[in-house]
Amino acid sequence: MGQDVFVVVEYLRREVSDISYVMLAAARQLAQGCGGNVVAVLLGQNAKELTGSLSADRVLYCDHPSLADFNPDAYRAVIMNLVKEQSPRAVLFGHTTIGTDVAGLISEGLSLPLVSSCLTLGADGKFISQICGGKIMVEGELPAPSALITVVPGGYKSEEGKASKPPEVTALAAPALENLRLALKKYIEPDAGDVDISKASLLIAVGRGIQNKDNLDLVNELAAATGGTVCASRPVVDQGWLPTTRLVGKSGKRVKPKIYLALGISGAPEHVEAIGESDVIIAVNTDLNAPIFNVAKFGTTLDLLEVVPQLTEKVRQIQAS
C-alpha cells in the first residue's frame, strides 16, 4: 500500500474551486504524518494550465474529450483505475456537487471505507467531521490502509493549499471512456435580470424562521427602509418564496457585504461557507445554540417577528430626521 495522499481537483468554468486548495492543505497534514506525497489528480480537456497554483508534490493530469466537463461516469472510471493501481493512503474529494457524486461509487466499487463531511485531518491520522448542520463534531481514526474522504470547507484557508511555484505534472492515461451513461447537454446561466446579491453592501437575509410567505413583507419593509437587499437560505428559496438569484450558500452565491443581517437562519455549514467574507454578521435567532452565533459578531435571541418591525420603525425615524 502506498502512503501518498491523492486530491481530486475540482474546478468550474476553468477556475479551480476553493475546496481544491482546502483539500490540498488537509492532504499535506496527513501526508506529513504518513511520510507520503501529496498528489493532485486533475481530470479535464486542455486544462493543464489549471495546475499552476496547486500546492502538491506532483500532479497527475488526465486529458480526454469526455473529461471536458464533469461527468460522474467518466470520473468514476479514471479514478477507480488509478486508485486500484496505486493504492494511495487516502483520496480526498470535495463534499460537493462533484466529489460526492463520485466518492460513493468508488467506495462500493473498490470496497474502500468512506469518511464524509471531513473538516480537518491530522498528521496522527485522526479526522474530524462536522455533521447535523454544524451542531455536532465527530472524531475518529482514518481507516487503514486506504480510505476515501469527502472534505467540507472551513478547516483550512485556501491560501494554505496554494503554491507560488508550479508543481511537476505527469500525464495520466485515460481508460476507455466510451458508452458513458450520462451526457451534459448544456449549462443554464442564472437569471441576470435580478439584483446581484454578491455586490450588495447591506444584506437582509431571511431563513426558515420567517415561517411563511406573508411574513416576508416585514423583511421587505426593513430592506426598503435601510436600502438593503433581501437574500435567503435554501428552504426559503425551495418554497418558492424568493427567486434562486437570492440564494446564499453552497449552491447559491458567496456574498461579502458590510453587514449581513441573518434573520431566522440556523447557520448550517452549507449556508455559512458563503458568508465568511462579510465585515459583520448579525444574527436574530431564538435558539442560542444555533451555529450562526459562532460566526456572528452580534446577535439577539428575540423573535425576529418582533425585532424586524421595530427595527424598521426606528430606521425610518432616523432617515426622516
Binding site: G133, K135, I136, Y187, L202, D238, L247, L311
Partner: protein, 254 residues
C-alpha cells in the same frame, strides 16, 4: 415508469442534540426524528413524474417512530406501494448498511428510476444514492433539481455553485440524488391521509442482519467549540433594536 424512493429519518435539528454517556454517539432517548427534508422533495418529484408520464411509485424506509404517518402521507400524495423494513436498527444505520438493506428489494422492484434525497445531515460514510447505484450497476447523478422524462433516459437539472444549472441526460435505469423538486412539496390535508390509512397497505420486510460496520469508527463526538461567540444584545425588543441601530450605524449602514 417505475420509481422507487427510499426515505430516511434524521434528528430534528430544531431540538437540542445531546451526546450519550459513551461520548461517541448521539443520545437517542429524547431525539425527535423527522423525514430528511430532501426526501420530501424526492417524493414530490416522483409524484410529478407519475402524474405526467404514468407509472408506479414505491416508497421504502427502515422502521422508525412516526414512519407509518409519513408513508400514508406519501400514499395520499399518490404513492402506490409502501415498504417498511423491520429489524433492530437501534444504533441507526450507516449509509453502506442502508444501501445493502435496499439492494435486494431494488433488484426485485426493477425501478427505472431511484430517487434518493441528495444527502442527510447525519451520515458519516457518504450518501446512500451513489453507493446503491454502484451496487446495482446504475449511473448516479446528485444535486438534482428537476427531472423530465422523455423516454429511455431522463433530462435532469444538476445544480452547481453560483446558480449555474447543468442539463444532463441520464440513461435509465438510474439513481438520482434529489436536492429540490421542481415545485415545493405539496400539502396534504389530514382528512385525506386518514382516508388513505384505511385502504393503503404497508408491506413489511424483515432485515435479518442490518450490517453494522462501514469501516468508519467514531472515537468521540462533541459540540463545536464556541470559538468566536457573538456578543448577545440583551434587553427588551425596544432596547435591542436601539442597539442594532447603533451597530448598523457603526458599520456604515446609513
Amino acid at each position: 415508469m417505475k420509481i422507487a424512493v427510499p426515505i430516511k429519518f434524521v434528528p430534528d435539528l430544531v431540538e437540542e442534540l445531546t451526546i450519550d454517556s459513551s461520548g461517541a454517539a448521539l443520545d437517542t432517548s429524547w431525539l425527535r426524528l423527522i423525514i430528511n427534508e430532501f426526501d420530501d422533495h424526492a417524493i414530490e418529484q416522483a409524484i410529478l413524474l407519475k402524474e405526467r408520464n404514468g407509472g408506479e411509485v414505491t416508497i421504502l424506509a427502515a422502521e422508525a417512530e412516526g414512519l407509518d404517518d409519513i408513508l400514508f402521507t406519501a400514499a395520499a400524495k399518490g404513492a402506490d406501494r409502501l415498504i417498511k423494513f423491520t429489524g433492530d436498527f437501534g444504533g441507526g444505520l450507516n449509509s453502506h448498511a442502508a444501501a445493502r438493506m435496499l439492494v435486494d428489494t431494488m433488484r426485485e422492484l426493477q425501478p427505472d428510476l431511484i430517487l434518493t434525497g441528495v444527502q442527510a445531515h447525519n451520515d458519516l460514510d457518504g450518501s446512500v444514492g451513489p453507493l446503491l447505484a454502484e451496487l446495482l450497476g446504475m449511473p448516479y447523478l446528485g444535486y438534482v433539481a428537476g427531472v423530465t422524462c422523455p423516454g429511455d433516459q431522463v433530462i435532469t437539472r444538476k445544480e452547481y455553485p453560483g446558480g449555474i444549472i447543468a442539463e444532463v441526460e441520464v440513461r435509465l435505469p438510474a439513481v438520482l440524488g434529489i436536492q429540490a423538486a421542481e415545485q415545493p412539496p405539496r400539502y396534504i390535508a389530514y382528512t385525506k391521509i386518514r382516508q388513505v390509512m384505511s385502504t393503503a397497505k404497508i408491506e413489511e420486510r424483515p432485515v435479518v442482519d442490518p450490517g453494522s460496520t462501514a469501516g468508519v469508527t467514531v472515537s468521540r463526538m462533541f459540540k463545536p467549540e464556541a470559538g468566536q461567540r457573538a456578543t448577545i444584545l440583551e434587553g427588551s425588543v425596544e432596547e435591542v433594536t436601539d442597539k442594532l441601530v447603533a451597530v448598523f450605524r457603526d458599520h456604515g449602514a446609513f
